[in-house]
Symmetry: C2
Amino acid sequence: MAKELTSRTDDYSQWYNDIVKKAQLADNSAVRGCMVIKPNGYAIWENMQKELDRMFKETGHVNAYFPLFVPKSLFEAEEKNAEGFAKECAVVTHYRLKNDPSEAGKLMVDPNAKLEEELIVRPTSEAIIWNTYRNWINSYRDLPLLVNQWANVVRWEMRTRLFLRTAEFLWQEGHTAHATKEEAIDETVQMVNVYAKFAEEYMAMPVIRGVKTANERFAGAEDTYTIEALMQDGKALQAGTSHFLGQNFAKAFNVQFLNQNNKQEFVWATSWGVSTRLMGGLIMTHSDDDGLVIPPKLAPTQVVIVPIPKPNDEIDEVANKIMSELRAKGISVKYDMDKKKRPGFKFAEYELVGIPVRIGIGKRDLEKGVIEVARRDTKEKMTIAVDGISEYVEQLLEDIQTNLFNRAKAYRDEHITKVDTMEEFKEVLETKGGFILAHWDGTTETEIKIRETTKATIRCIPLDNPLEDGKCILTGNPSKQRVLFAKAY
Amino acid sequence: MAKELTSRTDDYSQWYNDIVKKAQLADNSAVRGCMVIKPNGYAIWENMQKELDRMFKETGHVNAYFPLFVPKSLFEAEEKNAEGFAKECAVVTHYRLKNDPSEAGKLMVDPNAKLEEELIVRPTSEAIIWNTYRNWINSYRDLPLLVNQWANVVRWEMRTRLFLRTAEFLWQEGHTAHATKEEAIDETVQMVNVYAKFAEEYMAMPVIRGVKTANERFAGAEDTYTIEALMQDGKALQAGTSHFLGQNFAKAFNVQFLNQNNKQEFVWATSWGVSTRLMGGLIMTHSDDDGLVIPPKLAPTQVVIVPIPKPNDEIDEVANKIMSELRAKGISVKYDMDKKKRPGFKFAEYELVGIPVRIGIGKRDLEKGVIEVARRDTKEKMTIAVDGISEYVEQLLEDIQTNLFNRAKAYRDEHITKVDTMEEFKEVLETKGGFILAHWDGTTETEIKIRETTKATIRCIPLDNPLEDGKCILTGNPSKQRVLFAKAY
């Protein structure tokens, strides 16, 4: 059995890599920094996509698709955005290969097929989309424009980690256009709330919603809203962002509309995205030393039935009955009829891949009219009557979903610490970890100094943050509120 | 009203472009040959994806995701495949931009950020996937491996047309690995059958299944199966292909497995794909001079309700009742309450975008307990009792789906012509168009000569083709069966 995960206390980072590889979620590829998302991992991502897509459509958005490439002249039009991404851009310079005359069977880039203008592989699509919106928007009647795209993007990161930071990743990016500033801000807030709802209700991952500091904003944004989650090792994960872009892109691409008073005005913009990074968050919120733990609402297979010790006619019959009852309730279930593997081996395998509920059907138990039900989250085993089993499992899946959220939230809440001095700040950071609420004087200079000395960053200024007079932990200058610090992925 | 389509008889090609643009399906972009798929077009593609994805899963496939980029050394490993795509590859050579010292605010490719090995933007993923499969496959127990990927690919085509031939397009590509040749061939045939079923049952587009000649095979395949559809202008469209790849990729990437006799063997492969090109096929199979015609099973909105002349309380009430009845039946419906547009304008707009059924609710009709129902396919209008309207519409949608298929099939069947001489061949091609069944001597030389003199290609050798002695129309050499020729997109 290929289990043998590094334990979390021994080496959290190695444990993460072990889970991703041994639960067959993803793997490195032949291309530097690019991952292969394996079927086990992709099935979870598909479930995430399905729920998110539904939530986007329920809030009035439609999907579209824009080109993978951005001509350099468009890419550089919004200067802050361009500057923010310039250092990590994959660039297409040629459009043809030819036979390499020096080596039979080998190809080389054809120097005669150089593009007149280089193409940037999109690191994000504001530039190509706002250049398109110029043709779509003429008057206030064309607004709001509420568009989302599911796509791959490329950012040439130097240090990569499966799901968390990869050169290519999958994401969705919403790009909306509005007639007024207020409406655009409302959209920005609405979408960070959609992300928070998805994270908490589906991923069972509690998040803190907040606003980024100027220094941590998306390149080209006026304001960036974020959801921040806490991983089991006490590090934060930025799990989704929603940007109020002001009129920056409208001005860079000259996107104006005729307002109701017949005057030309620049359009107001938002953009918002979540990515396959969420997979990393899911893993590091719930999983344990035995493997992956997946919240039932996102689990590709919610229930597995294992015959003990082997399938036989009687067990098959009970299993088939349970399967059809569960399927009628919309619960996904599989029956493992493999005769070559022992039950213990199977149990460990299903724990490793995180199936929320396991049902063991044994011959002797059946004589008493009972079966064994095991939940992945707590590893409890219960002896349950076969009669009414599907209702029991249905409720159990809900309980697991709730328990995972509550457990993660209790951990998160225990790991929000208020500190008032730099000394305390460093001590909490080095010992307990987690989020730290501390006063900050509001300057980028202080923010950077704290980061340089502690590696902690300001994750956000939480929404509905209570105001409170205090002094900046670094400079002692006055502050009106605490902000949320953490070391982060 | 922005209708004014070119008529099909005046200029079929211009009519196609007009529909794509005026029904807002897609548009050209700032990137040469790359399209923007607009929300109206993307919604149809999403419906196609949904049904195809379900059919793939029902036949045992799972989804995964592989990198966008293929290192040049992997790309060239399977020589025929590499040769087939080398001339249309977008190549990434650099991974960073920097400020252009000669011009403030401009960026340039950083010459210090040249990749050691160039990356090809995938034109198809056999190379990167088979390089990955080497690590996934060890023994016969790992087979079959049945994986599909939804992705974007890039082929630097010189002459592009929206949906039909674009530099970047969206598609799915299945890549399967098998222990035996027979099993791989079975899979290849199964998937061309899945495509045919999808084309006929969902797109209402009749297709001929067949095998490509050696000359028209996918680069690197042993055999290519295809579905070929006929467009309204008498030209064929290759709508989907399924390839038996033999052991070519397994050998190029050294993918072997331990068979049941404990011996190493090379794995057998298939690949198969359909793309956003299907959107072009859908348009050119059903649409007319008034706009798009979408089969009900793929229509994002199946029914639209228009108040005549304007919404009022009474009409709203009836509309809401009809909507909830239709939605309970799983039918998508919208109610157009816009007071600023006249009904005639709305009718034309909904014809242009192809909503299958339009219900007009007028004040006077309501007094008689009736409403007007118009079907998009035949443009017939019926006066129908409000009572039982949802059952009527449900049946009507099925009838439209069936009628569209039958109409297209009648046209297609009328346009399959048997000819026995080169003279007849040319005459049918220039006057009637469509598919031509003719004898061919089986040589690539003849095939190319016919193409060069007539622009017609061999679309396929139909499956279950009746054997029949005859003489090649070009050379007079003996032939055992007729093959299917046409001019093609």
